[in-house]
Homo-oligomer: 267 residues x 3
């Protein structure tokens, strides 16, 4: 059954009502934006990375989001511990493989993490998804160097192998599930000019997956909400910084009518 | 003697004139906002957490603010060192027990820190203050799960035991001193939708305590300035992000007249 | 030959066209702003600090910016590794000695780093530049305590000794090269009220040096772009936070005409 604007709005309303606690182990660059975006969408963010406490934090959380944007040894240790506990507890686990393919350390870490604890959802740009799936991809820093479409094969293979939802985000966002594919064509060209909107999308996937056991629908809803808020934000933006302010405000005020009017979804 | 709008404005003017150096060991999520809020209010922020340098930094600072929002082992080591040196030097020490009660690691760390070096001021939400004072409280992430009023008993007991000022912040902010209680009823419902405004309040307590040896009055002034700037910010906010921009601008431009007109204080 | 508005705009256009990958090892407080400023000016930012990956990241980067604002042991280790690899590879290396002079640890670390790997460009405020060059300077936190002019002698001596460009930033920015000195008198008094604009300037020096082998001209262009964007931003700012939003927007939209009209340069 196709996902409608109404479904997406219902997901958003569930996040607002239940305010799920989303535990993030993410990078230094985006922590503030991630926390503010989770608050704006109605969720409760918490950031914790000490090996001494990540399992306890997972125990009170409704989703775990792991982002490898600024890795280091002790953080990697915490990621494995948190992911293991989240799997045991059965809450959704979202991986954001920031910069996979850019350095062997990143590629190796995310692959080992996926191997040890398969995720519920993976969200990355085309080159990151390709870097996880095979050895031939190259990433230019953390931006997408390969056409999103080319990454679809990698996404399908990851989805099959790990039994998870894979989202390849870009101008069009592709959400790949078992035997299903949905495309979201919302968004705006100013969005990649703001650091961390990809990371924000992954965090929102966590918030939506926390309230909707259909993780394919939850990921689709999160990506649609991102794109639509981005379009609304761009209407009165003078550049990327006012765009970011407007984006968070739009997440906070987003209505069912706005989703209905703007949603560009295809299967 | 009751604290007046004029007293509060005098405190703010002192911060602007003296621009005290406030040393923060705080969490990754809020560092940027904390530094900008301290600058906006007229203080000089510095962030430093290496055990190799925290004592030297304390030696040139006028207040030390310790926030446990994103703990890890080396940072805890630095917190103890910095607090010890601040006590030796006699500058105000402010603790912000972010997420106390959420994990044993946080609760244990802040309790040991308080045991080793009693603070000048503690500021937290209701559940955090209760988690420091007794073993029965539970925190939902870093938001307040318990009614502020219920935490007053914990605050009084901490105040007695540690001979410090305790601020329980929430819709009403309670400032608890020896035989004194003041309530600030300023603020706006959008404020908890911005990550780190509680941490900002603790940092401002540091700035105000740096210029006013009456730490009860300094804490009251800091909380009043927070709440009033929040009210002014909300008047033209379209959501939490424009609210944050307006809030920092309002801290920077706050006048004695605005404090006079808006202050809602009670004893 | 004097540097003109047209030269500066050509530098900016080169950054926008080539979008150089700038590798930053910088402090927690400013990472988000630094990344957004690099994006706004047209560059591609990446932040990475793990000793396990910094050399690999340097290998795909076009400039390396090292900022000592929030030092710790493992980060210092990564700084030395990254700088060594950048020197081997021949890409520009920019040092930002945040808070040099404030603690012995900072002063010692930046001096050892300079000794081990001489930079292409150093940018700091007056007291930081003096703290690198000699033992008599004192820093009050991370703000400038000494008149910029007094630091010119230190800058000239550093420039000679290290064969690098030295920028002493302040109300007037001094760019010191071998037998050359340029002054930029653009900027606005609200700029020091935003945390991390100095760090942003250093990051932009990296972006400009990545596209212009004349590092003296690149530094001059970066500082001019900073100051002019600051002036434009201030025209509609209500305080430091709206100033920061406007500043990033202005970086993104800056035109050759705006540079032409506003540039205040002197040799």
């Amino acid at each position: 059954m196709p996902i409608t604007a109404q479904n997406i709005y219902q997901n958003l309303e569930l996040v607002r009502q239940r305010s799920p606690l989303v535990h993030n182990i993410t990078n230094y660059v985006v922590m503030n934006l991630t926390a503010n975006a989770l608050l704006a969408v109605g969720a409760s963010p918490v950031m914790a990375h000490a090996p001494e406490e990540v399992e306890d934090m997972v125990n009170i959380a409704s989703a775990l989001v792991i982002n490898i944007g600024t890795l280091s040894r002790h953080w990697v240790e915490a990621m494995f511990k948190a992911a293991g506990q989240a799997k045991k507890k059965g809450i959704p686990i979202i991986y954001d493989p920031v910069g996979a393919g850019a350095t062997p350390y990143r590629t190796r870490t995310i692959r080992e993490l996926i191997q040890a604890v398969p995720p519920t959802i993976v969200r990355g740009n085309a080159s990151e998804i390709m870097a996880i799936a095979d050895d031939t991809a190259k990433t230019k820093g953390v931006d997408s160097a390969a056409a999103t479409e080319k990454a679809l094969d990698s996404a399908r293979s990851l989805c099959e192998r790990l039994d998870c939802v894979v989202c390849v985000s870009g101008e069009t966002d592709y959400i790949v599930g078992k035997n299903s594919l949905t495309m979201i064509k919302n968004g705006h060209s100013l969005m990649p000019k703001i650091t961390g909107l990809g990371c924000t999308a992954s965090a929102l996937c966590g918030a939506f997956a926390a309230v909707n056991p259909d993780h394919f629908a939850a990921t689709t809803a999160a990506m649609a909400v991102m794109g639509i808020a981005g379009e609304i934000a761009a209407e009165h933006a003078a550049g990327p910084a006012s765009m970011q302010v407007n984006f968070l405000d739009a997440l906070f005020t987003l209505t069912g009518e706005e989703i209905q009017q703007r949603l560009k979804i295809a299967c």
